[in-house]
């Protein structure tokens, strides 16, 4: 279960990443095209179990996340990579 978080700026993304160390495992990635076409960075949080997703969302919000998405990974018929779908979290 993955959660994607976007922030107001690159600096805010970096700051959140540093602050989250030890709280939620996050990976810094480019903002997926499906979400926004402009260039930017996002944090991909991988809570260890699905029940941790809610807590991760709260933590990410607490560190300034302005956009949050649940990442749904599906097997792709045409690619060896999983197809990713992003479901907005209100």
């Amino acid at each position: 279960m993955l959660v994607l978080a976007t922030f107001l700026s690159t600096h805010a993304t970096l700051r959140a990443e540093q602050e989250l160390t030890g709280e939620v495992p996050v990976e810094l990635i480019p903002v997926p095209r499906q979400i926004r076409s402009d260039c930017g960075f996002a944090l991909l949080a991988s809570p260890l179990d699905p029940s941790g997703a809610g807590r991760a969302v709260e933590i990410l919000k607490g560190h300034g996340a302005t956009g949050l998405w649940r990442v749904i990974e599906l097997d792709s018929p045409t690619s060896r990579h999983k197809e990713k779908h992003y479901e907005p979290i209100p």
């Binding site: 970096l14 810094l28 960075f41």
Partner: protein, 208 residues
């Protein structure tokens, strides 16, 4: 459909010709097995890798001397309509022909300017490379680029993913030594100027 084997002789052809011809044959279809004959190790690896990416099954790989015969079975369709094999094969082909073979990273950052932003761009680039349908064959690391693959680097996970995709990571030995990282290369192997130059001269290089 009765089994029909098409034979593609790609001996003596330079990279990436064997892959391009394999792709073309798979797109044309009209056979149940494609036998590709190659006589270079890069041809063998690239054709097999490409076939795997295209959703095909490798029926067998027989080596005799320099030659390898790779038998490729295109994805099987559930219906009996003979035209359906072709359409599925088309659908599974990567849209982009194998282009960039070598990515040359001569810095731990992308571009000049703010180093923090440059490092961030490098992380985003390497992550995106791991998601690519057509990853390169190798990533060459030079100057401070070698620090990307050293112990403690934030890029190790992305580099390991690339290795899992079959990408080779080569780090300049003199550069590792200069930065006192000789015994701290965590991903990939040590290379030298001769090998690196050879890959750069082969072309299809993306230099960042």
């Amino acid at each position: 459909m009765s089994p029909f084997r098409r034979v593609l002789d790609a001996r003596g052809l330079a990279c990436p010709q064997p892959v391009i011809l394999t792709r073309k044959a798979l797109a044309e279809g009209g056979f149940s097995e494609l036998e590709v004959i190659v006589n270079t190790s890069s041809g063998r690896e690239n054709v097999a890798r490409f076939a795997g990416h295209a959703g095909c099954t490798i029926g067998s790989m027989e080596e005799s001397g320099e030659e390898t015969r790779i038998v490729i079975q295109p994805p099987v369709t559930s219906g009996s309509d003979p035209t359906s094999t072709k359409s599925l094969t088309d659908a599974t082909m990567p849209l982009v022909e194998p282009g960039i073979q070598t990515v040359f990273l001569s810095s731990r950052t992308i571009g000049r300017g703010d180093d923090e932003l440059g490092a961030l761009l490098m992380r985003a680039f390497l992550y995106t490379l791991t998601e690519s349908e057509t990853p390169p064959q190798r990533v060459l690391l030079m100057n401070s680029g070698v620090t990307l693959a050293a112990e403690g680097s934030v890029h190790l996970e992305n580099l390991r993913r690339l290795v899992d995709l079959g990408v080779e990571i080569l780090a300049c030995g003199a550069c590792l030594e200069f930065y006192k990282l000789t015994d701290q290369l965590a991903v990939g192997r040590v290379s030298n100027m001769q090998e690196i130059t050879e890959f750069l001269l082969q072309g299809n290089v993306l230099s960042l």
